[in-house]
Structure formats: C-alpha cells, structure tokens
Symmetry: C2
Subunit: 158 residues, 2 copies
Amino acid sequence: MAGSKSLTGGVSNLDEMSVIEPVCAVFRRTLKGAGLKYTLERAQILDAVMRQPGLFHADELIRGLKQEGFRVSKATVYRTLKLMQDSGIIQRVLFDDDDAGRYQVVFGTSASDLLIRTDNGEATQIELPELRALCEKICARHGLTLKGHRLQVFAAPE
Amino acid sequence: MAGSKSLTGGVSNLDEMSVIEPVCAVFRRTLKGAGLKYTLERAQILDAVMRQPGLFHADELIRGLKQEGFRVSKATVYRTLKLMQDSGIIQRVLFDDDDAGRYQVVFGTSASDLLIRTDNGEATQIELPELRALCEKICARHGLTLKGHRLQVFAAPE
DNA sequence: CTTGGTGCAAACATTTTGCAGCACA
DNA sequence: TGTGCTGCAAAATGTTTGCACCAAG
C-alpha cells in the first residue's frame, strides 16, 4: 500500500486485491458506459474507498490517500466519489447532526442498514433480510420498482 | 462528537408519541427543561415548520418566513431547527446526493419512513408498521434499546 | 443586573467549478 | 487533434459563531 502503484489498474497486472475486483469491474463498466475513463487516480481512489471500514469521511479518505503518498487533489476525489455514487458503489450517509461528508460502501453488501448508537455515534452494519420483502411490498403498492433502500436504527444501551 | 445531545435527555419515542399532545407543548417543555425560552421567533419557526408538507429545505423555510413578513434571521432559524432536532420534533434527512439542508417533521407521525422516487426525487411518507418489530429485534440482539429509526426506500416507475 | 435571544456579518466546512495544461485514444 | 482528466485555487453551499444590543425575570 505504500508503494507507487499497486493498484487495481486493470490495464495489465493486478495485485492480490480480491475484494476490489468485482467493484472495479462495475465501476469501469459504468464509466465506459458514460464515455469516461478508468484512470489511475480513479483506481487509487476506488482502492482506498474499498479499504475503508464501513463508514468514512471524504476528508479522511483524502488525508489517507495523501499519507500513502498519492498525489490526488480533493477535487478529483470528490469528482470520483460522485461517480461512484452514480455507479451505486457508495452512497452518502447522514444519520445525525453534523455528519456531512460521510459515505458508505454499499457495493457487494446489503449494507444499507445501520445500527447507530445514539450515545456515542458508533455505527454498525446490520443484516435485516426481512426488510427486503417489506420494501418490495411498499413499492408494489405504489406501482414502482424497488431500486434500493437504506435503514438507520437508532439505539442506546440501558 | 457524534451522538445527539438531547436537551432533556433522550426524547426519542417518536413512534409512539401520541399525536394528541401538541408539538408546541413538547417544544416548550423541552426548552424549559434546558433553561431556554419559548420565544416569539421560535414559535413562528415551529409554526412554519409544522406547516411544511413533509420534507423541506432550511432554505425554503427561511424564504417562506420572510415572505410571510416575519423578520427572522437565518441564524435564528438554524439555531431553532437544531433545538427542534434535539427535541425530536424534526430530523435531518439526506437520501441522495445534493440533499443537504433537508429536514422532515417526525413528531406525531411514524414518519421516519420515506419512499423516494429515483427518477424525480419525489418523496412520499410511507407507513410500515412491521418495521418497528424488526428494529426492536435487532436492538435486542445487540443489547440495546430502540430509540428510533429511519427508512428510505428508493424506487422508480416501470 | 444577569441570563438568554436576536440579527448581522464574518467565519467555517464541505463540495463544486473555471481554467490551463496534460495524456491518451 | 480532440475529449476527457487533473490540480489548483476560487467560488458556491449550507451552517455556525462572534459580537453588540435587546428583553424578561
């Protein structure tokens, strides 16, 4: 991770990044579909994003990238983050006050569901399979097709 | 600094809060409990908020107030909005890109649940009674007490 | 008086955009 | 050659804060 370019580049050789593979493909496909390119910077950012533990701040991400020696500008990071949203790889999350800039990886997980502790803000990804059916039901009732969902459960100890 | 700091200590039970008790009373009680005052401006803002159809933007609210002849500053509006969040009367909502500044009245409704059309951004409040039990189950599994939840269902026609 | 509230404007944090140069199809 | 990409810095949002003054207990 400290080297120069051990990225998912995809042009030729890869490293031992396994989680990233499918996401990478999705991202690339989406980009290509829009006439955009899968550049080194975008690969680096995707890589960094997938390495994030659940939730992350755009700011942290940027700092992390710089710390690892990558020279990406925040403009590019934000631009890429937006592209990733469009590709359905990540989504913005806001669960309480003052939580701007918070993102979450949603690709390859059913991780739109969060359990959030109101006492310390800690967020855990939860699994709630039954929810899917509920959402589908609601959509059907409105004559719509389910595209996704997001649940935030707030709780405290005691 | 993640958790919210409730003025009276954990308002929370939004879902079962009876519709009967006027929001005004709750707000007032909460304020008093924190040694704060229920001023004219706060009343005006609360009033305007309750008049909002579901979701609203802080910005719209401010414009609306000014248009009605009230001379409240945005600073006061934001300060009051925050107080209302702490009282559990409203909550911030972010369901997609670019939706900062969006709020929702949650008092007296089980309205943390939204059906959002991905094609035009239109948001409808939905009723999903079964969800409550699911949330409770999850909380129990983690040894926590349910404080509230928020669901966003994304869907499109076709 | 003392505590809190308000408006205003400046400050902030986050995200976006204009621009010039660069890279690759 | 053109189209897209990048970094930088400036701009644009959305929200908060410092300050001086006002209002009520």
